[in-house]
Structures are given as structure tokens and as C-alpha cells.
């Protein structure tokens, strides 16, 4: 029962992340939706799996997978957003501030 609740929350957040990727205007804002919602969504699904199996072999492996997923997604988002900037893609029209431009000169 608890596992079902966690998995439902996870799928809901993944759905919100996908809506965010479609609706938000530029690459940088889309990455925001992609990292936050999808990471918590997947962690929630994995937690549901842990509650389903208990601390058996599958449950322990899933528990180990949560920190790996977390670090992979944050480091991946960091690399993508930095790569996007260095590739030369401009910030969207709505942007109000850009301190990074000065730092690269």
C-alpha cells in the first residue's frame, strides 16, 4: 500500500517534469524542470520499490541506486547547462540578468 502511494507520487512528478519540458521557453528553464521533477519522481518510484520488496536483495540494490541517481542527475544537469552556455545558446527573452557573461571574459 505504501509502495503504491510512493510510485503514484513518482509518476505524477515525472509527468509534471515532462509538461515543464514542453511549456517552458528556453533550454535553461527546461533543464530546471527536467532535473528537479524527474529526479524526485524517480527517487520516489525507487522508494516505492524498496517498500514493496523490503530489505531483500532487490530492495538493498534499489536503496544503493538512489544516491547514484541523485549524483548522476545533478552532475549531468550541471554539465549540460554549462555546455549549453559555452556552445553559445543565448538566454531566453524573458531573462533579466547574466553575471556569467562577465566572468568568461
Amino acid at each position: 500500500m505504501i509502495s503504491l502511494i510512493f510510485i503514484t507520487i513518482g509518476i505524477l512528478f515525472n509527468l509534471l517534469g515532462c509538461i515543464g519540458i514542453i511549456r517552458l521557453p528556453d533550454t535553461y528553464n527546461r533543464l530546471q524542470a527536467a532535473t528537479k521533477c524527474v529526479t524526485l519522481g524517480c527517487c520516489s518510484i525507487l522508494l516505492g520499490v524498496v517498500f514493496h520488496f523490503g530489505f531483500s536483495d532487490a530492495g538493498t540494490k534499489v536503496l544503493v541506486a538512489i544516491p547514484i541517481l541523485f549524483f548522476a542527475s545533478t552532475v549531468g544537469a550541471h554539465a549540460l547547462i554549462r555546455g549549453t552556455y559555452h556552445f553559445g545558446i543565448k538566454l531566453g527573452n524573458k531573462s533579466v540578468k547574466d553575471d556569467y557573461k562577465d566572468a568568461l571574459k
Binding site: 552532475v75 550541471h78 554549462r82 540578468k97
Partner: protein
């Protein structure tokens, strides 16, 4: 010393991940842990005795709870901005100064910032973090520095430094 610590940690990690205590599996795990610690041991933390101080683990548990709370807040925040018809966003990249010194602490801070509401760290140059923020709430550097790093910096300082 750091190579031995990294070897032990990666062996434990291997055994947890495979969940199998037969002899061939332990041999494979030992060999791959030795290779890993030979190649990547120089990136490991320099003072391994810090791993033995219990109060760091105490702060780490508190930090974990703060972090999970911020993470849930971040998701609700993104959900609100995505579902709102007018999409209230005001994005930009801001510069934030950090007082943390070691590389590991800066890495943990940057990762934590990535998971907090509306912020992704773009780059670290010396002591400055460059952060993409989806809704810039204030123009004053001191106020937004407190808003972004304030929740985590004091815990990370107690855990790592």
C-alpha cells in the same frame, strides 16, 4: 592511507550492489576495488581520519532532512510555475560568493543548490558560484546569496570542514 580507505569503501559498495557473498564474486570485487582505488585514490579526501568523527555523521543526518524538505519544496515550486497559465518566470544567471574552502564541500554545495527551488549551478570559478535562477526575487547580492546558500552552507561546513 587514503587508498586503503577507498579500497574498503568500494568493496563494501560492490558487495551491497551485487548482494552475493560467494567466493568468485568477492574475488572479482576485490580486484576491481584495487583497480579503482589505484586510479582514483588521488581524488579521494585527503584527511581520512575525518571519517571517524561521529559528530560529522550527526550533522549529515540533519542535513539530509533539511535537504529532503528543500527538494520537495523545489518540486512543488516547479510544478506551480509549469501549471500556472501565465508562467511566472524571471530567469537569469546570478553570481554568489561562498565561504567554503575545500573542493569536496564546494561540490556538495553546488549539488545541493541544483536540487533547491528554481536554481541550477552553472559553474564554479574560485570562490564564486554562477547560478541559473528561474525567478530572481531580489536585485541585492547579499539578500539573494542568503536565499540560495543560506540553508546549506552552515551544515556543509560542519560536515566536511
Amino acid at each position: 592511507m587514503r587508498y586503503i580507505t577507498m579500497f574498503i569503501l568500494s568493496l563494501i559498495f560492490w558487495l551491497l550492489l551485487t548482494f552475493d557473498l560467494t567466493v568468485p564474486n568477492i574475488i572479482v570485487g576485490t580486484v576491481s576495488s584495487i583497480i579503482c582505488s589505484l586510479f582514483f585514490g588521488r581524488f579521494f579526501i585527503t584527511n581520512v581520519y575525518k571519517l571517524l568523527q561521529p559528530r560529522r555523521y550527526f550533522w549529515f543526518v540533519i542535513y539530509l532532512f533539511v535537504f529532503i524538505w528543500e527538494c520537495i519544496k523545489a518540486n512543488l515550486d516547479v510544478a506551480y510555475r509549469v501549471l500556472h497559465p501565465a508562467m511566472p518566470i524571471r530567469p537569469g544567471i546570478v553570481k554568489v560568493k561562498t565561504t567554503l574552502k575545500s573542493d569536496l564541500a564546494k561540490m556538495l554545495l553546488a549539488n545541493s543548490i541544483t536540487m533547491t527551488p528554481g536554481t541550477i549551478s552553472v559553474d564554479i570559478i574560485d570562490d564564486n558560484l554562477y547560478i541559473h535562477w528561474i525567478y530572481i526575487r531580489s536585485e541585492d547580492p547579499e539578500i539573494y546569496t542568503g536565499m540560495i546558500t543560506g540553508a546549506f552552507e552552515k551544515y556543509i561546513k560542519r560536515i566536511i570542514e
